[in-house]
């Protein structure tokens, strides 16, 4: 296997592992917060339904955590196995947040174990809820720290290179690079949003499948409200991400927006297809791009003409950008209509088709996460460290990457199928009506 092949397969394997991990990681970041909110509401309102909601979410969460942990371990090791040259440099400059991430995991893992095994062990429910805070904080901070590493890849700072040697290394400057604020905020907020809509999808699905229990209605209302808040936040932070790109990585923005020539009063191109370098069937919003990039309708936006051809990212990231933004705006609309509809007692929000849209919102949010990451990562190409190290120079020279790709593809298939099978079986065998009944008899019937 020549090294070109090693580079190619290393890329595919990295893409595969990350795309798989991110599904479970996103749930891992978002769901603890949802459990916390539900349990808190339950304690406040003294409503057993919300407590049960928290409890059942927690049970399902264990399964997704397990897969998140093992695939995370895989990507952590694979970074060194597949990109040894990159990690050697990264180890010197950006190891601090990676190291901090392990503490976040530690903290999360310890308290998750305690939380799961102390249901009803304390007289005071609030004590039990307190144990969940470190879980949620740990999960969110692991996302914060790993995203800092990724931000560094987009805007490497905190060191100088002289004669091929790294000098003046400043780990804090590397951590707090210009890409960090928007990236971290966007990743964390979209994880909360996605977790809320995935849980909403489950509730809507149960309602569609004939269960008319108030438990599901409460779950749906709660998660849609949370989802709406975070979806709006995601769009606002997404807008800041665009402004960050315009300033620090204009080639990524220009490729995502098919903005070929540097100009003032730049229009925003939405949708469309690229045919021999010509944009067709697109919607053009006059002055849109200038506004998105610089908050001014007339500002100049750098186009792809400013970059050497071999430094222009693949142009298909435009589709990914559109997909992500469309889903984001769509989810705001859907959750917004639902929320207003609940206040005003509109009928449509109880209609079957509307509930199916909510069900669809769960998978769509995950697709938006995937599209967002692919946009961010492919848009950084050909660099693994922007401006410093090309992806092809970072890869391993090992000859067995193709075999490992097959091995891992099989593994993810087994894990993916396994987790879905187990989750469905877990909740089928113990439907919520049953559990509510069981708890009533247990407590003498005066609880609900």
């Amino acid at each position: 296997m020549g090294n070109e092949e090693a580079v190619f397969y290393s890329r595919v394997l990295t893409e595969l592992t990350l795309s798989f991990h991110i599904i479970y990681a996103t749930i891992g970041v978002g769901v603890p917060l949802m459990i916390m909110i539900a349990q808190w509401v339950g304690i406040k309102k003294n409503d057993e339904h919300y407590i049960l909601l928290a409890r059942r979410w927690a049970r399902g969460f264990i399964i997704t955590v397990a897969v998140g942990v093992v695939t995370g371990t895989a990507i952590g090791l694979q970074l060194s196995l597949l990109w040894p040259n990159f990690m050697e440099l990264a180890g010197n400059v950006i190891a601090l947040p990676l190291f901090l991430e392990t503490f976040a995991f530690f903290f999360e893992a310890i308290f998750l174990g305690i939380y799961l095994y102390t249901w009803d062990r304390f007289e005071n429910q609030k004590k039990h809820l307190l144990l969940l805070i470190p879980v949620a904080v740990g999960a969110s901070f692991s996302a914060v720290f790993i995203t800092m590493v990724n931000a560094f890849m987009n805007a490497p700072r905190g060191f100088d290179i002289s004669n091929g040697e790294l000098i003046n290394i400043n780990p804090l400057l590397a951590m707090f690079n210009p890409a960090m604020p928007t990236k971290v905020a966007h990743v964390v907020v979209t994880a909360y949003m996605t977790a809320a809509f995935v849980l909403a999808a489950i509730a809507a699905f149960r309602l569609l499948k004939g269960s008319n229990h108030v438990y599901h209605k409460k779950a749906l209302y709660l998660t849609m409200k949370i989802g709406l808040v975070f979806a709006i936040a995601a769009a606002i932070v997404g807008d800041f991400s665009g402004k960050y790109l315009a300033e620090y990585q204009p080639e990524k923005l220009a490729a995502a927006e098919w903005h070929f020539e540097t100009e003032e009063n730049a229009p925003l191109i939405m949708y469309g297809v690229l045919d021999d370098g010509e944009v067709k069937y697109a919607i053009k919003i006059p002055f849109g791009l200038s506004f998105l990039a610089h908050s001014s309708f007339t500002a100049e936006v750098v186009g792809l003409d400013q970059f050497p051809e071999d430094e222009v990212p693949p142009l298909y990231i435009h589709y990914l950008f559109d997909l992500m933004v469309t889903i984001g705006v769509g989810m705001i609309a859907l959750a917004g209509i639902y929320w207003i509809g609940m206040k005003r007692r509109w009928k449509i929000i109880h209609a079957k088709w509307f509930r199916w849209l909510i069900v669809l919102g769960g998978p769509l949010s995950i697709i938006a996460i995937e599209a967002g990451w692919w946009l961010a990562e492919v848009g950084r190409q050909p660099w693994v460290l922007r401006g410093l190290m090309r992806t092809e120079d970072a890869a391993t020279t090992s000859g067995q990457v193709d075999l490992m790709l097959i091995l891992f593809a099989l593994l993810y298939l087994i894990l993916g199928v396994g987790s879905v099978v187990i989750l469905t079986r877990m909740f089928r065998k113990n439907p919520v009506e049953q559990e509510i009944e069981d708890r009533e008899t247990e407590k003498g019937g005066d609880v609900l």
């Binding site: 090791l77 010197n92 901090l100 530690f106 893992a109 305690i114 391993t396 990457v401």
Partner: protein, 341 residues
């Protein structure tokens, strides 16, 4: 103490932590599967699950800490080990993934599913074998430089007696550590039947552990004479280790003080592990890489050490809480309360 030594000591300690609690974890999974096949199920499963369930994720973090830390403190290891270990470590990852996820699937989703427990039992016992190969490779002789890139010679690796001695030791030690710990735990849970069975397993696996450990030192004389000479400088540590080993076996044999038996076992492995580590000094990979030429810059080293100290301030109280609730809580250990979500 130089920063290099602080760095490697911290990492070596976490590796030791992983090996110790990982061994308990993997061995327990194996005994669990084994007891299902041989119909000792009722005796063992409960004991094992009660200990394992709340802590399995914590075990994994020790490993993550080690490999993230080594890239942080010694970035050059990414180049040498990253390039050469693709296959063995990938196999290790797959086993870890099967083991971790199927453990969770079986425990929380499909209680009592035989196939799942068999899968994670078997995967668990192969993990020490596949990861211990890294230690063998670090002895040198299996990696050569071709066009400036390190290349691993698989044929040589798999035909070397050293490799197989290390593999057997890792499996035997895993089962020995695990059985000894669980003997104590079962005794604490007042379950005489399980205690007896586990005590028997512990005794059975003690001898292979001792024999292979000796065999490895013997093999090193041929494979890496320099290291062999170094090891002899540390003979008192290995002597203490051997005495502690005899102490553990004696107590197990006499059915006395299982707690002390386990503490002596920890001591045995501490002395052997740090003795081995110290004699390996200063090499991370014979003869290419020492802790000095692979070390990170001082700014990063200091910030990692500061982060480590702050992190410990957070972790130690949390771990104490975990142990108080699940390891030293009499009611929990005896299964009086089931508070699982």
């Amino acid at each position: 103490m130089t920063l290099e030594i602080i760095g490697i000591t911290v990492l070596w300690t976490f590796l030791f932590g992983y090996i110790l609690i990982g061994a308990i974890d993997f061995g327990a999974g194996f005994f669990n599967a084994y007891s299902r096949i041989t119909a000792h199920e009722h005796t063992l499963t409960k004991i094992i699950q009660r200990y394992l369930s709340p802590v399995w994720e914590v075990t994994n973090v020790f490993l993550v800490f080690f490999f993230v830390g080594i890239i942080g403190f010694f970035p050059k290891t990414a180049f040498y080990y990253g390039t050469t270990l693709l296959v063995p470590v990938s196999i290790g990852i797959v086993l870890l993934a099967i083991r971790g996820s199927y453990y969770a699937f079986e425990t929380y989703g499909a209680r009592g599913h035989k196939g799942y427990s068999f899968m994670y039992g078997l995967a668990g016992i192969l993990i020490p074998a596949s990861l211990s190969i890294v230690l063998t490779i670090s002895e040198g002789g299996f990696i050569s430089m071709v066009d400036g890139n390190p290349v691993l010679d698989y044929w040589m690796l798999f035909t070397s007696p050293l490799t197989w001695a290390v593999v057997v030791l890792s499996i035997a030690a895993t089962l020995y550590i695990s059985a000894t710990f669980l003997t104590w735990y079962a005794n604490k849970a007042r379950d005489p039947e399980a205690t007896d069975l586990l005590r028997k397993y512990a005794l059975v696996w003690s001898l292979p552990t001792a024999i292979t450990a000796g065999g490895i030192i013997f093999e090193l004389r041929r494979h890496n004479p320099a290291h062999y000479v170094n090891i002899q400088d540390f003979w008192p540590m290995f002597l203490i280790s051997a005495l502690m080993f005899i102490g553990t076996v004696w107590l197990l044999w006499k059915r006395q003080k299982y707690g002390w038996a386990f503490i002596l076992l920890i001591g045995q492995f501490i002395f052997a592990f740090y003795g081995y580590g110290a004699s390996h000094y200063p090499y991370l990979l014979y003869p290419y890489l020492t802790i000095y030429d692979s070390f990170t810059n001082p700014a990063m080293a200091i910030s990692l050490i500061v982060a480590f100290i702050l992190g410990l301030g957070l972790l130690i109280p949390s771990i104490v809480l975990l142990m108080r609730l699940f390891l030293f809580d009499k009611d929990y250990v005896r299964g009086k309360g089931d508070y699982h979500a």
